[in-house]
């Protein structure tokens, strides 16, 4: 009896397992199927309702397309596994610009060059952005959803407390890095709070350092004639940039005591009035409002301050990506969806209005105009401005300085960018935790490490 029971149990186990291995398939109905990623989940009921309504409307307008939904959005830890297993949604809506080159090289994204040419999208994109959206082979693999440049993010309350206010009530903005240091000192004196914060972990420190060092005239790498790469950043200019950060920490004492933080923790400091300035971009605004509890009226933004070597800022963005196995019809359907949701070259006023409304209700930033335009079409920008001003919840004056005048835009370093950031993270950590850090030696070691561990070992 006992034996028979155990046999039965074992058999049942096997059956359960076999059942678990099965996959479900859905029957085709002749429609073009498109699975859209980044679908909101129940934690954002307003957005979810908006998207569900859009789905219904879109399918009514396009009876030959059937939308299915997937809440998956890009996440570093799971992306590659999903991509290899071909489990990504057909249309992913938030690929970070930092991933485009490797995604293209590894074949995780569809080549949409032809489709984009045919539909006219390619001609409509701001030419500055094409490089960012393309692979190393020059083909187009993604479309921009949001674009931004690195700049300064400012906590207005702290600036006001330190008296850094213009006659018209807006906050004063540092135009150079020296001025940024002066402001930080004033803020520390008047409020006791750190004037400026640098992240140092999670590759974020290296990323921000790159942006600062460019302005001191540093070039990080160059390609040799034979296609290999050479690290070139160990220069007096780089030492100067590092000395600037060293002085902020140890001479001027304007950085926070705790320096082993990443960008997420840094944003928290800005949002909770514990630091007055960080280097960041407009794409972080909604995080500041929704996750850090920052009042939308408390933020101001400015362009990257100038350094002795010029005034550079990194271009970034969040991108649309298509899964590589899609048919031409599916990609076209994806373009239609992008257009419909208000992110295409022709503005869909209705859905754009929906977006503004939900953002305003979710206590997210609604700017009265575009901070960075993806499309060359000026009429589109005018329409955006017209609709957005109805819902705007911030004063555009606080963001006036966050513009392209005098700025030279740069893209991410072409070879081993993430690895470079990681090496630079170590450099900043050393400077932030060791008052007697030997800057030239540190810089030399970082360059040698980057060359030996990464550039020389590129596949």
């Amino acid at each position: 009896m006992k034996k028979r029971l155990s046999m039965l149990l074992a058999a049942a186990l096997c059956i359960f397992m076999a059942a678990g291995c099965g996959t479900s398939t859905t029957g085709g109905n002749g429609k073009v199927a498109l699975e859209v990623g980044n679908w909101p989940d129940a934690t954002r009921p307003e957005s979810l309702e908006k998207y569900e309504n859009w789905k219904t409307q879109f399918e009514e307008q396009n009876p030959d397309i059937e939308i299915s939904t997937n809440t998956y959005g890009f996440e570093v830890k799971t992306f590659v596994a999903k991509a290899v297993a071909r489990q990504l949604p057909d249309l992913l809506q938030n690929l970070p610009f930092t991933e485009v080159k490797s995604v293209a090289k590894n074949g995780y994204a569809a080549d949409i060059t032809e489709a984009a040419k045919k539909s006219g999208i390619l001609d409509a994109i701001n030419p500055d952005l094409i490089e960012m959206c393309s692979g190393e082979d020059g083909k187009l693999y993604t479309l921009p959803r949001v674009a931004y440049m690195q700049g300064l993010m400012i906590n207005k309350k702290l600036f006001e407390q330190a008296g850094l206010v213009n006659a018209d009530g807006t906050v004063m903005v540092p135009e150079t890095f020296d001025e940024l240091a002066d402001f930080a000192v004033k803020i520390k004196e008047k409020t006791g709070v750190s004037g400026f914060t640098m992240p140092t972990t999670g590759n974020h420190g290296g990323w921000i350092l790159l942006n600062i060092a460019w302005n001191y005239g540093v070039e990080f790498e160059e390609q040799n004639d034979d296609g290999t790469w050479k690290a070139t950043f160990d220069t007096p200019e780089f030492h100067e940039a590092l000395q600037f950060l060293h002085d902020l920490k140890w001479e001027k004492g304007v950085l926070p005591d705790n320096n082993v933080i990443d960008a997420t923790e840094m944003r928290m400091l800005l949002g909770s009035d514990q630091t007055a300035m960080i280097i960041g971009n407009s794409d972080w605004c909604s995080h500041l409002a929704q996750k850090c509890g920052m009042d939308v009226g408390n933020l101001a933004m400015a362009k990257m301050p100038a350094g002795p070597g010029g005034r550079y800022s990194q271009l970034g963005g969040s991108l649309f990506m298509f899964s590589p196995d899609l048919t031409e019809e599916q990609i076209e359907a994806g373009f239609k969806w992008i257009d419909f949701t208000g992110y295409g070259p022709e503005l869909n006023e209705d859905t754009y209005r929906d977006t503004c409304e939900v953002y305003a209700n979710e206590n997210n930033f609604v700017f009265p105009k575009e901070l960075f335009s993806i499309w060359t079409n000026k009429e589109r920008s005018a329409k955006v401005e017209e609709i957005a001003s109805e819902y705007a919840n911030v004063d555009i004056k606080d963001f006036e300085n966050y513009n392209l005048d005098g700025i030279e835009l740069r893209s991410e370093p072409a070879a081993c960018a993430q690895e470079l950031y990681s090496v630079l993270d170590g450099v900043i950590q050393e400077i932030m935790t060791n008052k007697n850090a030997d800057i030239p030696a540190l810089s030399k070691k970082a360059q040698d490490d980057f060359q030996a561990n990464h550039l020389d070992k590129m596949n």
Binding site: S6, M7, M17, N258, Q418, S422, E430, T433
Partner: protein, 302 residues
């Protein structure tokens, strides 16, 4: 003669199998799952570590190049050194605490149950949550709890996790706090098997606590201590989440472990080939240690 013996053996093997058939059938699902989620990936990692991967697709056979790349990394030696430091600190901090706690609980007449429960409690807290709590404790500046205490007694704030020499022991303290409940239970179990007559006799003869500890408990526990030390070495050798959450491997690589390097290869740089090569290196080392563990285990359970 020989063949007959073999046949006999064969037959008896078949008999054993037949006799235990329901056992075999019952274990089948576990074997299948182990194969699917442990053995097969291990085998695949060995195989793929010899290839250049693009994403996770093998594109070219490169022999031992990935191993060479991993070992010649300028940070490799420092990382190995750090990992050894983690292990040593875990032996210094992590071994005595659960042992003495177990001895103390064992000596208790009342409240045993409560202390057992209370000390086991941290084990059920997820590792990441534990790390975040301890990170708050160690926070630099006035916001950190330890610094608040220092401030209270009039000493200025100190640097904790960002202090290169302190960072590894601090991480170990946090992970000891979390993990020592399990070790404690094992020590307790072993303590409970001490011959009570011997113990009582010693007590009646007027032997004090330390006498009993030295002459009865310690000799009895030697095997368990050695085994648990081995387990600890194997476990701490793989330390990953704790430094990942608490320090990110910093400052400047001072708390980088082999496990964390492996994680970075895979999930920060997308270099799965190097990640697998490093995984294989760690695996071989750990298999060696595990072998010793089993040897010891057999020796002491005899």
């Amino acid at each position: 003669m020989k063949s007959l013996e073999k046949k006999k053996q064969k037959r008896s093997a078949a008999m054993i199998f037949k006799k235990n058939i329901s056992g075999w059938v019952l274990i089948l699902p576990s074997v299948f799952l182990l194969f699917l989620i442990v053995w097969r990936p291990v085998g695949m990692a060995f195989y793929y570590s010899l290839f250049r991967l693009q994403g996770m697709k093998a594109v070219a056979f490169v022999g031992l190049r990935n191993f060479r790349d991993v070992i010649t990394d300028t940070a490799f030696l420092q990382t190995v050194g750090n990992t050894v430091k983690y292990v040593l600190w875990s032996l210094v901090i992590g071994m005595p605490i659960p042992f003495f706690a177990a001895v103390m609980i064992n000596e208790m007449v009342r409240g045993k149950g409560y202390f057992k429960f209370a000390m086991y409690l941290p084990v059920i807290v997820p590792t990441v949550a534990t790390c975040l709590i301890w990170k708050m404790l160690y926070l630099d500046g006035e916001g950190g709890l330890l610094n608040a205490l220092l401030y209270f007694v009039g000493i200025g704030p100190a640097n904790w996790l960002s202090n290169k020499t302190l960072t590894i022991p601090l991480v170990i303290i946090a992970s000891t706090w979390q993990g020592f409940g399990t070790t404690l239970i094992m020590y307790l179990a072993s303590l409970q098997s001490v011959d009570q007559n011997l113990y009582e006799a010693a007590r009646v003869d007027g032997t004090g606590f330390w006498g009993r500890f030295w002459h009865i408990l310690l000799p009895h526990m030697r095997g368990t201590i050695l085994l648990l030390a081995m387990r600890q070495i194997i476990g701490v050798f793989q330390i990953t989440e704790q430094p990942l959450v608490m320090t990110g491997g910093g400052p400047n690589g001072a708390s980088m472990s082999l496990g964390l390097t492996n994680y970075f290869y895979a999930f920060q740089y997308g270099q799965f080939d190097k990640s697998m090569a490093l995984g294989v290196i760690s695996f071989l080392f750990l298999i060696g240690l595990t072998f010793i563990y089993f040897k010891l285990d057999r020796k002491f359970s005899e």
